[in-house]
């Protein structure tokens, strides 16, 4: 019996070891002021890869298996398709206008590109053919776009249109809209079945975020970030009209991380109760975006005016590394290579 248990334990260790050895995690950090993107190994915080030739890169997305990366280029007004292993460009796909952020469906079949040029659109890229197959018109240029984790909806935020548009992914038609303010980054809290429960939405000139009940399709509360640092240390900007830019729900669903540009800090709220936890983390610069490792142990926050990414231990809420990257780092994502 003991021998059988030992055999089982050994087998379990081998299987787990093989699994972790084959899945590599990378933090993919765009650099909005340049043409390169850095890949960081979160186990060492070292830069282990670089994609080049994507001028004024904005959005990033990774195929679910890590076989490809996608980047929008504001300079070229294209979507770059990059091989996940060689990090070489496979194709550059022309878009209907100047792109901002992008998002990929959970099955990896479609990439959605927010088009910020007037009158606004969400371009749809078929990843098999690597062609733009559709351009969904929107009210106002699109800044950020998100596919919900269950793949059922595409959420597009417009600053100019002062509107959040929720698009049915099956029909590409608008399901519902919300807000009369410029819509900035959004974080999605999910139910156990991966359907969307609440949205945490940053808005133009709001030092905080709105809480949206997804089923009710309405804003249910608004949370303002603390003014908890001495006046002389408050950064006066400019903040691109977005004092709070960068928000994310940890993959384990236990915490919400919200950044403040004036305070150069990130604030952490417990979920689902939205209680502000002690110990905001100083970032030393203006934050732009957050991404987590899949195990929810680390969060990486890009600070655009220091050309750096800050790595923070989620549990202790302490900075563990500062990684120097390229010019004006903004959007970042987590890539899992299987």
């Amino acid at each position: 019996m003991i021998r059988q248990f030992r055999c089982f334990l050994l087998l379990a260790i081998i299987v787990c070891g093989a699994s972790s050895a084959t899945a590599q995690v990378r933090i993919v950090q765009t650099n909005s002021g340049g043409d390169n993107i850095h890949l960081i190994d979160p186990s060492t915080h070292a830069i282990v890869g670089e994609v080049t030739g994507v001028p004024i890169n904005h959005g990033a997305a990774a195929a679910p298996d890590g076989s490809r990366l996608y980047f929008s280029s504001e300079g070229e007004q294209t979507l770059h398709v990059v091989d996940g292993k060689t990090l070489k460009s496979v194709k550059s796909i022309p878009l209907s206008g100047r792109p901002n952020n992008i998002s990929i469906s959970p099955d990896g079949r479609r990439v959605y590109v927010g088009i910020v040029s007037s009158p606004g659109a969400v371009d749809v890229i078929d990843t098999a053919s690597m062609e733009k197959v559709k351009s969904i018109p929107t009210k106002g240029g699109i800044h950020n776009v998100y596919v919900t984790p269950d793949g059922k909806y595409v959420i597009a935020g417009s600053i100019a249109g002062r509107l959040m548009t929720v698009i049915d992914q099956k029909t590409d038609e608008t399901a519902w809209t919300l807000f009369t303010e410029g819509v900035r980054p959004i974080a999605i809290e999910t139910n156990p079945d991966r359907s969307s429960k609440r949205l945490f939405v940053q808005l133009s000139n709001v030092h905080g975020f709105a809480v949206v009940d997804f089923q009710q399709r309405k804003e249910v509360s608004r949370v303002m970030l603390p003014n908890d640092i001495p006046e002389e240390k408050v950064d006066k900007g400019p903040f691109n009209g977005s004092p709070s830019h960068g928000i994310g729900v940890a993959p384990d669903g236990k915490t919400l991380w919200v950044t403040s540009r004036p305070n150069a800090r990130v604030y952490v709220y417990s979920l689902p109760d939205l209680t502000l936890l002690p110990g905001p983390v100083d970032l030393g610069g203006r934050p732009d975006w957050v991404t987590f490792t899949p195990d929810s142990k680390l969060v990486y926050i890009a600070t655009e005016n220091t050309d750096s990414v800050i790595a923070i231990d989620v549990t202790s809420r302490k900075q563990v590394a500062k990684v120097k990257v390229g010019k004006a780092p903004k959007r970042n994502i987590t890539m899992v290579m299987k």
């Binding site: 300079g75 240029g141 410029g182 000139n205 408050v234 400019p238 903040f239 691109n240 009209g241 005016n305």
Partner: protein, 114 residues
């Protein structure tokens, strides 16, 4: 206008001051403390004077570092620059209709694709 932040209003006023020229001490402190301001200062000096520059400094730098504009140097033609100006108007930038083409011309001439 700015909800929740203690710096309400100061954000705009502070940057207009920057656009109009900071005091020497303030300029030195700004350059030392924030590298991105240093970059903006150099770029500012690269751009020739004119009505377009006046609009650029008055209207764009209330929300953006100048580097957010000049990073597009060499990528856009006039129509594309005009599209950006119109987009920024829609965002709420203080630009009137008459200034759109003046600013688009200026950006195309000095930061445009040639």
């Amino acid at each position: 206008m700015l909800q929740g932040a203690r710096g309400q209003g100061i954000v705009v006023r502070g940057n207009r001051r920057w656009a109009l020229g900071l005091s020497a001490a303030g300029l030195i402190a700004t350059i030392v403390l924030t590298p991105s301001y240093a970059g903006a200062g150099r770029v500012d000096d690269d751009l020739p004077d004119g009505e377009g520059k006046r609009i650029l400094l008055a209207s764009c730098t209330s929300c953006h570092e100048l580097t957010e504009v000049t990073k597009f140097r060499g990528y856009y033609n006039r129509n594309q620059w005009r599209d950006i100006v119109v987009t920024m108007m829609e965002y709420g930038a203080p630009i009137d209709e008459k200034q759109v083409d003046v600013l688009a011309d200026y950006l195309a001439a000095h930061l445009g694709k040639h």
